[in-house]
C-alpha cells in the first residue's frame, strides 16, 4: 500500500486534510482504509450530514472555532484529581455543548451526539469565568471563610508593613517602598548607631545589604497567614476531589462525546475539503468488475473528469492548464498501451489516487466516480533507481509482484503496473508480462491496470485495451507550423495544452502506436520519420 501511496502522490492530498481536534488528528494518523462498503458508505454519510452546514461560512466558522478549542481529556481511565483537569473538562464540555447545539437534531443523531451533562457543566460553571476556571468560594463555605481570613491577614500585614516603612523612612531616610532590600555604604548605616528595625549583612567591601525588620507582630501574623494558606490549600484540594468525583461519575458521557467529536471533526474537515475542492460523493460497487465479456454487471469502474490533485496543484503554479481525466473499466484486465509522453503514467496515478481517496473515506474531485473496493492496492514497479538494497529495478518488480500475489488470498487486490519489465530486453519482458496477465486473468480477485509500451503482448482474450486520446495532433502540428521557432522546452511546455487525458478503448495494441508521430511533431527530421513509418509498414506485412 505504501508504494501505491507514494506512486500516486496521495500524501499531497492527505496533507490538506487537517482535523482540528486532537482526536481528529489521531484518527487521521490511523490512515483508515475502508474495505467494506457499509463502513465506507457510513463514513460518506457523515460528510453528507454536515456538508450543507459547512457550506454556510458563519456556521463553518463557529463549528471550527469550537472544534479547535476542544482540549485533550482522557476518559478511558478515571480522571486525576487536579484543578487543571477540571479546567480541561469544563472547557471540553463547553465546546462540545456548543458544537451539539449548532447541529440539527437529525445530524446529532447521525453522529451519536447526545448531550447529557448539563448538571456537571453547571457545577463546573460555578468556578468559571469565560473559559477560565478557578476554585470558587461558592464550592465550600469553609473555603470562603478561610479566604476571608487570609484577606484580612493580608490587609493587616500590609498596614503593618507600610507603618514600619514609614517609620524607617522618617528615622533613616531609607525608602523601601520600591524594593525588598537596599545596598548602602557601611558608613551611612553606621552613622545611625544600633538599629532594631533594620537587618544588615555585608554585600561587598564598604557596602551592606539592608532589609527592614518588620517586628514580632508582623512575623506572628505572617506565620498565621502561612498557616491559613496551608488550610486553604487543604480545603481547595477537598473541593477539587469532590468536583473530580462528579466528573468521573459522568465519564461514560465524556467517552461518548469524544467519539462524537472525533466523527464530527473528521466529517467537518472532509466536508470542507469537498466544498473547497469541488468534490462529489463517489459511488461504490458491490463487487469487482467481471470479465468484460459477461457484459454490464453494474460493477464498472468509472471516472469522469477526475482531477489528479497533485498535478492540478503543480500546474496551478505555472501557466499550464490542467486537463481532467476520464476512463471506464468494465473488465478486470486492463492494458493501457501507447508511446511515451501520452499520459499513461498520469492515468495510472490518477486511478490509484482515486482508489485511495475513496477507500480513505473522502469525497472525490471528479464529476462522477464509481469504484470497487479492494483489500489491497499493490504498485508493482521500479523506483527509477538503478538498484535499491542490492536489488535491480527488475528484481524489485519481481519482488513486488510476488508479494502482491500473496495478497490475493486475502481478498480483491488491485495490481498497478507501470511499464512492467521495462529494464529487461523487450522479448523476454513481453513474454513474461504476457504470462503474468494470463495467470492473473484466471484469479477472480485480481484487478489489473497496466501501462506499457512493449509491443507484441499476448494478453488474455478478455483483456481490455486502451490508449490515451493524447494529443490533438492536427491542432498541435498547425500551432507549431505557425510557431516554428519554438524551442523544445517551449514545445514541451505547450504540449499539455493539446493533451486530452481520456482513455479510449481500442481493439488491439496496434491502434495505440504513435511514438513516430510524436517524434515528428517534436521536430525530428521528416526523412527519418518517413523512413521509420516505412519500416513499421514492412514489418506489418
Amino acid at each position: 500500500m505504501e508504494k501505491a501511496r507514494v506512486f500516486s502522490e496521495f500524501e499531497t492530498f492527505y496533507a490538506l486534510y487537517k482535523p482540528l481536534t486532537i482526536y481528529g488528528r489521531a484518527e487521521k494518523e490511523k490512515r483508515r482504509f475502508f474495505t467494506d462498503k457499509s463502513g465506507l458508505e457510513n463514513e460518506l454519510d457523515f460528510i453528507d450530514a454536515v456538508k450543507s452546514l459547512v457550506a454556510v461560512k458563519a456556521v463553518k466558522d463557529k463549528l471550527r472555532h469550537h472544534l479547535r478549542n476542544i482540549p485533550l481529556i482522557k476518559a478511558d481511565n478515571p480522571i486525576e484529581s487536579s484543578a487543571a483537569e477540571l479546567f480541561l473538562v469544563r472547557k471540553f464540555l463547553m465546546n462540545v455543548k456548543a458544537i451539539f447545539e449548532i447541529l440539527p437534531e437529525s445530524t446529532r443523531n447521525i453522529f451519536g451526539a447526545v448531550w447529557g451533562s448539563s448538571a456537571l457543566l453547571a457545577l463546573l460553571d460555578k468556578g468559571g469565568r469565560g473559559e477560565a476556571f478557578f476554585i470558587a468560594d461558592c464550592y465550600s463555605e469553609r473555603l470562603a471563610d478561610k479566604r476571608r481570613e487570609i484577606l484580612a491577614a493580608d490587609i493587616k500585614l500590609k498596614k503593618l508593613k507600610e507603618k514600619r516603612l514609614r517609620e524607617i523612612s522618617s528615622r533613616y531616610g531609607f525608602d523601601f517602598s520600591d524594593r525588598d532590600f537596599l545596598i548602602i555604604l557601611d558608613k551611612n548605616f553606621a552613622a545611625f548607631g544600633e538599629q532594631h528595625d533594620l537587618y544588615a549583612e555585608p554585600h561587598d567591601f564598604g557596602r551592606l545589604m539592608v532589609k527592614p525588620v518588620y517586628g514580632n507582630e508582623y512575623l506572628s501574623l505572617a506565620a498565621e497567614r502561612e498557616r491559613l494558606r496551608a488550610e486553604e490549600a487543604v480545603l481547595e484540594k477537598k473541593v477539587v476531589d469532590q468536583l473530580i468525583y462528579a466528573v468521573n461519575a459522568d465519564r461514560e458521557n465524556l467517552r461518548l462525546y469524544i467519539e462524537a467529536v472525533r466523527r464530527i471533526d473528521t466529517a467537518v474537515e472532509k466536508a470542507r475539503l469537498a466544498i473547497d475542492m469541488d468534490m462529489t460523493r463517489p459511488e461504490i460497487n458491490d463487487a469487482m468488475p467481471e470479465i468484460s465479456e459477461t457484459g454490464d454487471t453494474g460493477c464498472t469502474i468509472e471516472l469522469k473528469n477526475a482531477r489528479f490533485i497533485p498535478l492540478e496543484k503543480a500546474l496551478q503554479k505555472t501557466e499550464l492548464k490542467y486537463m481532467p481525466f476520464s476512463a471506464s473499466f468494465a473488465g478486470r484486465i486492463n492494458i493501457l498501451h501507447g508511446s511515451n509522453m501520452g499520459g499513461k503514467t498520469v492515468a495510472l496515478k490518477t486511478f490509484v489516487f482515486f482508489q485511495l481517496i475513496v477507500q480513505s473515506g473522502f469525497y472525490v474531485p471528479a464529476e462522477y466516480c464509481r469504484v470497487s473496493l479492494f483489500n489491497e492496492i499493490c504498485f508493482i514497479g521500479g523506483d527509477g533507481a538503478a538498484s535499491a538494497g542490492g536489488l535491480s529495478s527488475f528484481g524489485i518488480e519481481m519482488n513486488d509482484f510476488i508479494k502482491a500475489c500473496g495478497k490475493l488470498e486475502k481478498g480483491p487486490t488491485l495490481f498497478i503496473m507501470d511499464e512492467f519489465a521495462r529494464t529487461t530486453n523487450s522479448e523476454e519482458g513481453t513474454a513474461l508480462l504476457s504470462a503474468i496477465l494470463g495467470w492473473l486473468s484466471q484469479r477472480s480477485g485480481a484487478f489489473v491496470f497496466l501501462a506499457t509500451h512493449l509491443a507484441g503482448l499476448e494478453a488474455p482474450e478478455n483483456s481490455s485495451w486502451f490508449c490515451m486520446k493524447g494529443f490533438d495532433r492536427t491542432a498541435f502540428g498547425t500551432y507549431f507550423e505557425e510557431h516554428s521557432s519554438a524551442d523544445l522546452e517551449e514545445k514541451l511546455r505547450r504540449i499539455n495544452r493539446f493533451m486530452c487525458y481520456e482513455m479510449l478503448p481500442v481493439s488491439s495494441e496496434s491502434e495505440s502506436r504513435d511514438a513516430v508521430k510524436i517524434a515528428g511533431i517534436l521536430g525530428v527530421d521528416k526523412e527519418i520519420i518517413n523512413h521509420a513509418g516505412k519500416i513499421i509498414a514492412a514489418r506489418k506485412k
Binding site: 478557578f134 545596598i183 494558606r229
Partner: protein, 309 residues
C-alpha cells in the same frame, strides 16, 4: 530615575532575562522590575506576564541565598507554572489554559493571580512553545511579558516581536576579566545584524561566501573558520564573507577570538533581540575600574548596581 527610565522602556515588550552565570541575580532583577513597573503603586490597570525558561538547577537565590527563587506576583498578573506549583503557591489563581505538551517538570499552566502571592514559575522547552505561550499571555491581557531565562540557554523571540534582552551580570574580583569579556561580546553581538536571506540575495555576498555555524560558536569552530578565511581584515564590511551564528548567546569566545572573527567576517545572527539592557552588579569593583575595561556599551542600555541607594 535613570533606572526607572530604562525600566519603562521594557514596558510592552517581551523581556528575556539572562544571566552571566548561575546566581547572577536574574530572578532578583525580575522581581525588581516587576515591582517597579507593576507593583501595587505603579502598575495601574496594566498587568505583566511572567514565565521562566528551562530548569537551570539553581537552588538558591544569588543575592539572599534563599531556597529556590520564587516570584512575587501581583493580583491580576499572568504567569506560567506547573500544576504542582499551583498547589504550592501562596496565591489564589484562575486557570486560563492548560497546555497539551509536557515539559521535564510537568504540564505548563497559564494562570492569573486572583490574590497577590508567591509562585514558582516555569515555562516552555522550545521556541514554538514559547511563541504560543507569549501569544496566549498577550491575548489574556499581558502588557509586558517577562521571560526569566536559564544562564546558558538564552532564548530569543521571533523577529516580528519587540523583544529586549536583559543581561544580568555579576562582576566581582574572582571573575572580573571573564565577566567583562562576556559583557563586551554581548554588547558587540547586539550590534550585529539579523540574518535575512532575502536581503543577502539582493545586496550581499553570494551564497558561497556565507558560512553557517550551527549550535555554539566555540573557540575550536572560530579557529577553524578564521584560519580558512583569506579575507583581508582591513577590507570594508560590505565585501567580507558573512558568518551566520544562532544568536548572541551562542557565542562562547574570548574577546580576542571574537575580534579576530569580526575582522574576517561580517557576523550575522539568525535570532536576536531588538534591544539589549545590561544590568551590571558590581561586587568589590569600582564602577570606574569596570569602565576602564568596558569602554563602550554601543547601543546597549546599562544599569549599574540598580539596587544601590
Amino acid at each position: 530615575m535613570a533606572n526607572m527610565t530604562t525600566l519603562e522602556e521594557l514596558r510592552g515588550k517581551n523581556v528575556f532575562i539572562a544571566g552571566s552565570e548561575k546566581n547572577a541575580g536574574k530572578t532578583t532583577f525580575l522581581n525588581y522590575a516587576l515591582h517597579l513597573l507593576y507593583g501595587e503603586s505603579h502598575g495601574g490597570h496594566a498587568v505583566a506576564g511572567i514565565m521562566s525558561i528551562g530548569i537551570d538547577g539553581e537552588e538558591t537565590d544569588g543575592i539572599f541565598g534563599n531556597p529556590k527563587p520564587r516570584v512575587t506576583v501581583e493580583k491580576d498578573s499572568l504567569f506560567i507554572c506547573t500544576e504542582s506549583a499551583l498547589a504550592c503557591g501562596s496565591l489564589e489563581y484562575e486557570i486560563i489554559n492548560v497546555y497539551p505538551f509536557s515539559t521535564a517538570i510537568g504540564r505548563p499552566v497559564l494562570a492569573r493571580a486572583l490574590r497577590r502571592g508567591e509562585i514558582e514559575i516555569s515555562g516552555p522547552e522550545n521556541n514554538s512553545q514559547l511563541a504560543m505561550l507569549i501569544a496566549d499571555m498577550r491575548t489574556a491581557g499581558a502588557e509586558t511579558v517577562f521571560i526569566d531565562g536559564a544562564a546558558d540557554r538564552l532564548t530569543h523571540s521571533g523577529t516580528a516581536d519587540q523583544s529586549v534582552l536583559a543581561y544580568v551580570a555579576r562582576v566581582a574580583p574572582d571573575n572580573f576579566s571573564s565577566a567583562v569579556e562576556r559583557i563586551k561580546i554581548i554588547s558587540a553581538a547586539s550590534e550585529c545584524p539579523l540574518y535575512l536571506p532575502e536581503s543577502m540575495e539582493d545586496d550581499g555576498p553570494d551564497s558561497t561566501r556565507i558560512v553557517r555555524i550551527e549550535g555554539a560558536l566555540t573557540e575550536t569552530k572560530a579557529g577553524k573558520i578564521t584560519a580558512a578565511s583569506t579575507h583581508p581584515a582591513a577590507a570594508p564590511v560590505s565585501t567580507k564573507p558573512v558568518l551566520v551564528a544562532d544568536s548572541p548567546a551562542s557565542v562562547f569566545l574570548s574577546w580576542l577570538s571574537w575580534r579576530r572573527l569580526a575582522s574576517a567576517f561580517s557576523i550575522h545572527f539568525l535570532h536576536k533581540n531588538t534591544s539589549t539592557v545590561l544590568i551590571i552588579n558590581l561586587y568589590n569593583i569600582d564602577k570606574a575600574d569596570f569602565e576602564k575595561k568596558f569602554t563602550s556599551a554601543g547601543n546597549c542600555r546599562v544599569l549599574y548596581n540598580p539596587y544601590i541607594s
